[in-house]
């Protein structure tokens, strides 16, 4: 994934940080295509609860994931005020619904650390690394883990 490449290529990594379910998360800014306001999604039958549906992003079908639901956090009620971060994940594009976008941070690679192995924490599997900024812990999201598996596309 690009995350690891970026980390070896450069001495620092730029992150887009945002709040979701009351926690601070971030993604590699290289994965971010755009940020846009929420729109009414067309729901998908039989989809997992964290899949809000699909929206029309300039002619393409964009799946929207409710990130707080995906991470098992408290779901915000007021979805109208939400923000969608459009990200590229392994060749696919998806929109992540978050509470608010906070900042863009440049974090030196050496300040990133692997998350401690806490198998009990469900959200654990979605975090690829951690860092501290101004005393706050920033979780760097493992985008590959966030997307629902696409088993049938293997061929």
């Amino acid at each position: 994934m690009t995350d690891t490449e970026k980390q070896t290529d450069t001495s620092s990594i730029e992150l887009l940080s945002f709040r979701v379910g009351g926690q601070d998360y971030s993604v590699d800014i290289m994965s971010v295509r755009e940020i846009r306001g929420a729109a009414k999604a067309t729901s998908l039958p039989h989809a997992p609860p964290f899949v809000k549906g699909v929206i029309n992003l300039r002619g393409t079908v964009l799946p929207i994931l409710d990130l707080s639901a995906r991470l098992g956090l408290k779901t915000g009620d007021d979805t109208e005020r939400n923000v969608i971060i459009v990200v590229d994940i392994g060749g696919r594009t998806a929109g992540l619904m978050v509470d608010a976008v906070s900042d863009i941070l440049a974090i030196p690679t050496e300040e990133m650390q692997a998350p401690p192995d806490l198998a009990a924490d469900h959200a654990q599997t979605f975090v690829s690394s951690l860092t501290i900024v101004d005393g706050r812990m920033i979780r760097i999201l493992d985008l590959d883990a966030v997307m629902p598996p696409q088993g049938e596309e293997a061929a």
Binding site: T42, S43, L44, H46, V54, V61
Partner: protein, 753 residues
């Protein structure tokens, strides 16, 4: 503008694919006993052309391989080798490898010689021609073309009759007055054209000009042999020339000028002695003490002596006139006159049609734009309707025409993308050959309908599933030759691939004449794998359907062929992702047939827009037999949770679309509700209850797989006039997985993941 050579190179690889196709076709014909010389020639020509182009681009590996293949095919062409089935099998392998080499060259890969040499050795042994090691050095420099026209530009253009007057012009440099001469090197040349030189289209004037480009040229025309006018045969050459060229060029350069007329003239080239510069005598040249002015050196033994024309004498100078008609010896060999030939050509069915090659990206862009146009048109129609404009107003009728045009454009654009399925079938031929030889079975592939046109994307995305199915047919479908013989069948198994258009869809069938599905075995296996319970009652079709269950594999041991961790479940989902369906029919002892039904295009669809559970959905129009409003009489309860609809004496299961998709629980009553009567490929029908029918329109298909993944019961998505996304239903998939619950809330059970 990009590099023209790079463009030609890219187009070369496209041409190669076409040539490979002809090659395959030709080999197939040969395999079926066609020994027509033109068939063999087509095969030869394909290999030859690939070699020719490859040489131009310095693709040495490809040239090398193609050369040896070509040599073998030349033996066949010349009738020195008559190929048997075994030999043709080797030819097929060569063609396959040739394809590999082409693609490797295109993609900058290298295929190690270990891969190619065994088959080449086999080829050589078979055909019995040894490889000549002294292959010509094939090199090519795509150098920028530059040719200094300065010298020739000043020459008078002499049309028709390049007479003597033109020649003295060449002697611009006065030999005697040129001081360079003293120390110069050069050659004395005597040049006496024979008649054949003129009849072959050669022209001494041009040769002299070319010579002049090498250095300073002095020309003396010898007219002594021109016969008297009354004895003059204007078709014969009577002139000869004495030339002296002062040049630094080697003798080879001079010989090169006369290359084309070698044998058509008396030619003698003698190096000039270096008269002044004694310190630097010609080192390697034969230092014959030729006098510089001695033009009448005897012809060298290697030169063909000219026929003696001295008996003829005339006073008229000149060479054969272009206007003069005459019988040349060459004409007696003419078999065909141009006139009838060209007449024939105009009616010839094989007349190549003018084509334009277009980057696929451009077409895709066009397809997308037309798609947007369709959406736009829909939005405009919607606005017009909402504005309350009368249907017979100019705006509405104009819009109607716009709609028609949009559809026509769309259709035309789709046709650009369509291409014969043949290339895919040919690839499958290779799969059959390779897989049958690796499992030791004798298999012949029969194809039909290979000119059926299918959307290019469909063709590309069918390659993997078809490959898998073909491997399956060879590996599991067909018996070993021994078993076949024991069953009274020919040793050679048969795999048949057909393609045809049927009612707006494409039907592809892959059939084998093997043992058929061993249903008892399949059932056992499914129980073993926990896919079904031993108590479950399954009919034949149900059992066949188990083959498509994830994780199912009938082979007792995973063979190295089809067992690559991919099962028929993947095949099924690939087909479904193309909006297609796959079904199996199998007769024990007689074989198995897989039928794939695909939409003609992936891009557009005529659909009915319906509302259900607050969502908008599109149902493909070709699946809808009719729509009706249910009355109390139509609706019959069946069991505690389900209903059937009685239509013209038949009973059809009622499905609540909203409930099946999980949008809402089943309704309390369906009386007065609208149902869509869905017809399926297998002839089964179902009634889909919807809340309302909104519209009927063409929609642009937007795939979901690429962005999200497969959704059960849903084929794809589209964007409606209001910009919202609507899902496109896959009725067959929906019905096959339906719970059928129309009485109380119950989440639909998902069969496949």
């Amino acid at each position: 503008m990009s590099d023209p050579m790079a463009e030609i190179r890219a187009s070369f690889f496209i041409e190669c694919e076409e040539l490979l196709e002809s090659l395959q076709d030709g080999l197939n014909l040969m395999d079926n006993g066609d020994s027509d010389s033109e068939t063999i020639n087509v095969v030869f020509r394909a290999v030859h052309s690939i070699k020719g182009g490859a040489g131009a681009f310095g693709l040495d590996d490809l040239v090398h391989f193609a050369h040896r293949f070509e040599t073998a095919m030349d033996e066949v062409r010349a009738g020195r080798f008559v190929p048997d089935t075994e030999a043709i099998r080797v030819f097929f392998s060569c063609a396959d490898l040739l394809g590999d080499l082409i693609r490797a060259a295109r993609d900058g890969h290298v295929i190690p010689p270990e891969k190619t040499s065994p088959i080449l050795d086999l080829l050589d042994k078979l055909v019995g021609c040894e490889e000549e090691e002294d292959e010509e050095e094939l090199e090519f420099t795509p150098a920028a073309l530059s040719f200094d026209l300065g010298d020739t530009a000043g020459l008078p253009d002499i049309p028709g009759l390049p007479s003597l007057e033109g020649v003295p012009d060449l002697a611009e440099t006065d030999l005697d007055s040129d001081p360079k001469l003293v120390a110069a090197k050069g050659f004395d040349i005597t040049f006496k054209p024979e008649t054949a030189l003129y009849t072959s289209g050669n022209e001494p004037l041009y040769l002299l000009r070319a010579l002049r480009d090498l250095g300073d040229l002095e020309v003396e025309c010898l007219t002594s042999q021109i016969p008297a006018l009354d004895a003059l045969d204007p078709d014969l050459g009577h002139l000869s020339w004495k030339l002296r060229i002062i040049t630094e060029e080697p003798i080879e350069s001079v010989r090169e000028v006369f290359e084309f007329v070698d044998g058509l003239c008396t030619l003698d080239i003698t190096p000039l002695a270096t008269p002044v510069d004694f310190s630097a005598p010609d080192d390697d040249g034969p230092s014959i003490a030729d006098l510089p002015n001695e033009f009448n050196t005897p012809t060298s033994p290697s030169e063909v002596p000219a026929p003696d024309n001295s008996a003829v004498s005339t006073t008229e100078p000149g060479e054969p006139n272009k206007e003069i008609t005459k019988e040349s010896p060459k004409q007696t060999t003419a078999k065909e006159t141009p006139k009838p030939a060209s007449n024939k050509a105009s009616s010839a069915p094989t007349q190549p049609r003018a084509t334009v090659r277009v980057d696929l990206e451009r077409i895709d862009r066009l397809v997308n734009l037309v798609g947007e146009l369709v959406i736009n048109q829909a939005m405009l129609s919607q606005s017009v309707t909402e504005a309350g404009i009368a249907p017979n107003s100019p705006v509405s009728t104009g819009l109607e025409e716009f709609l028609q045009l949009t559809r026509d454009i769309q259709e035309s654009v789709m046709m650009i993308r369509a291409q014969p399925i043949k290339s895919l079938f040919q690839r499958m031929g290779r799969i059959v050959r390779e897989s049958s030889s690796s499992v030791g079975k004798e298999v012949r592939l029969h194809t039909a309908g290979e000119n059926t046109e299918v959307d290019k994307t469909v063709i590309e995305r069918l390659a993997d599933p078809l490959t898998h199915m073909i491997r399956n047919a060879v590996d599991h479908g067909l018996e070993t030759p021994e078993k076949r013989e024991a069953a009274g069948k020919p040793r050679e198994g048969r795999v048949t691939m057909t393609a045809q258009h049927r009612s707006g869809r494409i039907l592809i069938e892959i059939a084998d004449d093997g043992a058929g599905i061993n249903r008892e075995r399949v059932r056992e296996k499914a129980i073993e794998k926990g896919l079904i319970t031993a108590e479950m009652q399954l009919n034949d079709a149900d059992i066949d359907g188990l083959l498509f269950m994830p994780g199912f594999s009938t082979a007792s041991e995973i063979s190295n062929l089809s067992g690559r961790g991919v099962g028929m479940d993947v095949v099924k989902s690939s087909i479904q992702s193309l909006g297609g369906r796959i079904t199996i029919t199998s007769v024990e002892g007689e074989g198995t047939t897989f039928s794939i039904s695909l939409p003609l295009t992936l891009a557009v669809l005529d659909g009915m827009v319906v509302r259900v559970g607050g969502e908008t959905l599109v149902v493909p129009l070709n699946a809808i037999l009719e729509t009706l409003t249910l009355t109390d009489d139509d609706l019959k309860a069946l069991g505690p949770e389900t209903h059937v609809v009685q239509i013209r004496g038949g009973f059809i299961p009622l499905l609540d679309l909203g409930a099946e998709l999980g949008y809402r629980p089943p309704q309390d009553s369906y009386v007065g509700g609208i149902v869509l009567l869905i017809g399926q490929e297998d002839g089964n029908r179902a009634a889909l209850a919807v809340d309302a029918i909104e519209d009927q329109r063409q929609v642009v298909i937007k795939g979901l797989e690429g962005s999200y993944g497969r959704v059960p019961g849903i084929a794809a998505a589209t964007i409606l006039g209001d910009g919202q996304i609507a899902l496109i239903l896959d009725p067959t998939d929906l019905v096959s997985q339906a719970s059928g619950k129309t009485k109380k809330r119950n989440l639909p059970v998902q069969l496949a993941g």
